[in-house]
Assembly symmetry: C2
Homo-oligomer: 415 residues x 2
């Protein structure tokens, strides 16, 4: 019997995402409390409110002498003034109190004169540079005032956020639990890496790639293994995924061949099932998005490159939503395409490019427009350019916006 040939209709990416997220009610993931020492890259679940001013007191920003600014007015190298050093807590008129960076400044002093602008002679200092009121003082609350939001919920905690939280004396934070993403590969031709392949067998690498991509974003991958192109086997493994994970990602079996069973099996295990199947993009056209038991299922192509691009476009925003994070856009760079690229009209094309910087200019070299199974196009590339549906390609020398997933190679501008 002949199956459906090709897709009757391809859905544009934005429409597919809209439909998917409209129907998907992402339940709040559990919050967990972790030490600030374990919180790097976690998603903050609740606002951190400053319970005190930071700094807690006016303090010196430099090494020097706390003084009354008025006492230094009109000094110069030719007209130095002399101030008496005090050891007390207060700084009187024409007095100076030695302070180091970070030391509190008492209310009667209003400026700090830097050590290098003074000369100490017995119990006095000679001053020849005037200071203005407030100079070299970090005012109480200058960093954060009591009651202010120090770090917003939905922030991915980077070293500087941890520093600010710790500076408030806070040792534990509430973060969103890592979403568990179950990952299943399907295909009769697939074997585990490390095994000895028969002539027509292929090492299964998508689970490894997708797990790593999940980890990079702060999700926890859960391995469902490899399923043969068999309804029962796929169905059984998907059920395990639905039970144990917050989302499922599958690869393979999503095209329109006789062995492309995944969308049908997904439809059979939960409602509403497949929401969209067939996206107006290249690669990753046979991607499907589904929901079963209120859990998202992203059905990716078995081709590694298509799976990676499908993950980028669909799984990445999903994981951000699950973590309650604002989407983090990849860095972009305007670069000149070094040669002509043809793309297919009616599909959004993701052209892998190698971006290099030469002097002040950026160049994007298309890595290959070969098949989406060619993983080395992803290792040679450090970014991609999106060509819209209404264009058949890019012209040589055209200025494009490249999205970076690796670091830019810097080529000596003088060569």
């Amino acid at each position: 019997m002949v199956r459906l040939k090709g897709f009757r209709k391809l859905t544009p990416i934005h429409e597919a995402l809209q439909k998917f997220f409209d129907q998907l009610k992402i339940g709040k993931l559990k919050m967990v409390t972790v030490s600030v020492h374990q919180a790097l890259n976690r998603a903050l679940a609740e606002d951190i409110i400053a319970d005190k001013d930071l700094p807690r007191f006016d303090r010196s920003a430099v090494d020097g002498y706390a003084v009354r600014a008025e006492d230094t007015f009109e000094t110069s190298q030719f007209k130095p003034k002399t101030l008496r050093i005090t050891d007390g807590n207060e700084v009187g008129k024409k007095q100076a109190k030695q302070v180091w960076t970070g030391n509190p400044i008492s209310d009667d002093a209003n400026a700090v004169i830097m050590l290098e602008n003074t000369k100490r002679i017995n119990g006095e200092i000679e001053v020849w540079v005037p200071v203005t009121p407030g100079e070299n003082i970090s005012k109480r609350g200058e960093d954060i005032s009591k009651g202010e939001v120090a770090v917003k919920a939905g922030t991915r905690l980077k070293p500087q956020h941890l520093g600010l939280i710790a500076a408030l004396g806070i040792t534990e934070v509430k973060v969103v639990d890592k979403p568990k993403i179950a990952i299943l590969a399907t295909g009769n031709e697939l074997i585990e890496i490390g095994r000895k392949p028969e002539r027509n067998q292929i090492f299964e690498v998508n689970r490894l790639i997708l797990s790593a991509l999940c980890q990079e974003l702060g999700a926890e991958p859960l391995d469902l293994g490899i399923a043969k192109d068999d309804v029962n086997e796929i169905s059984e493994k998907l059920r395990v995924g639905l039970e144990k994970a917050n989302a499922i990602i599958t690869t393979g079996g999503t095209s329109v061949g006789a062995s492309d069973l995944v969308p049908a099996v997904v439809n059979s295990i939960g409602k509403p099932g497949v929401i969209v199947h067939g996206i107006a993009m290249r690669p990753a056209m046979p991607t499907a998005l589904a929901i079963a038991d209120k859990k998202p299922i992203i059905i990716l192509s078995g081709n590694p490159v298509a799976a990676m691009i499908g993950f980028e476009v669909f799984a990445r925003p999903l994981i951000y939503k699950m973590l309650g994070l604002k989407h983090e856009f990849r860095p972009v760079v305007k670069a000149k395409i070094t040669r002509r690229v043809s793309t297919v009209l009616g599909r959004k094309s993701f052209v892998r490019v190698h971006i290099s910087q030469c002097g002040e200019e950026f160049f994007a070299e298309p890595v290959s427009t070969l098949g989406s199974g060619v993983i080395s196009t992803m290792t040679k590339a450090n970014g991609y350019v999106v060509v819209p549906e209404n264009r058949g390609g890019l012209e040589e020398g055209e200025l494009v916006t490249a999205h970076l997933f690796g670091s830019i190679e810097v080529v000596d501008g003088n060569v």
Copy 2:
């Protein structure tokens, strides 16, 4: 007694780095063998050479029928041709063999015709779109040929590299051991977070920040705790660091005050000691670079922002060298400065900015030019602009190059 006032000479950053790395012979770190499942973000220690072609055989890039291309020449919707379906391994003249994506193609076939361009009627298919020789076939070795370097030593392993390595059937890789970086904070005013501070005490947060920065780069932080401004205590802790770690980073006690003991103590514990002290930069001017027992010691300011910028400029390239990695430059973006910024002539200034994208334009809002102790300038910023020594600032509207350490905020272009 009066100590040295200020630095007699400030060294430009590039000169400081040059001196430091010229004298520092970075010993090869141990190699360790890890599973590809544990290798994400590790530094590859040896080239991965393909021991086989990838793909290992000519295979179909689509679902369809393997044919001899000649048999499809001159077909059209009005002039279809008919091919007989074969179940054998060979594809004879005027025959077609059904294949799914990834299936091997035997030598006698030279193209695959897509399923959607055929119509199956009993034991035959009708074909109306011609294919050219090689069409829809992934050729053996198209991805990587046997003997080729698949991934170069000195590569940080990202998901796509792991995928390529696994596709060759390789399950373990040799990576560079994580460099151990001992981290010490010094200062009488410092207390551990979680304790109750007295009036003039400050929570010590630099170790937390620097540990997180080390982890992000793939180094392993080792906590040396807090030392009082005391020669013996600092010296003792530094010795522990030299013994247990590959490098040491300290913060605090590096200015020119009476309690700024760290450079002197470093000089006393090993040769050649301090190489440079006082850098022509802002913040992080009092940074010192030292070597003792052939191990690098980076002496950072106690101000959290200065410590972070000092880490960026000096510790980051050091860690890349220790890992044997090519330096990864931060993504850059050309942005318009939204308001005037003043900087100090003769110093390279690191101005923290918040970069946003509005339509096609990028804007960099200076976050603050306040003291380098203000951590919130780092949490509000997502990048920095480097102002050269020979400029006194940036003009409003000036196009600058911003280095990104966070993701760009996208503002609706229509607002």
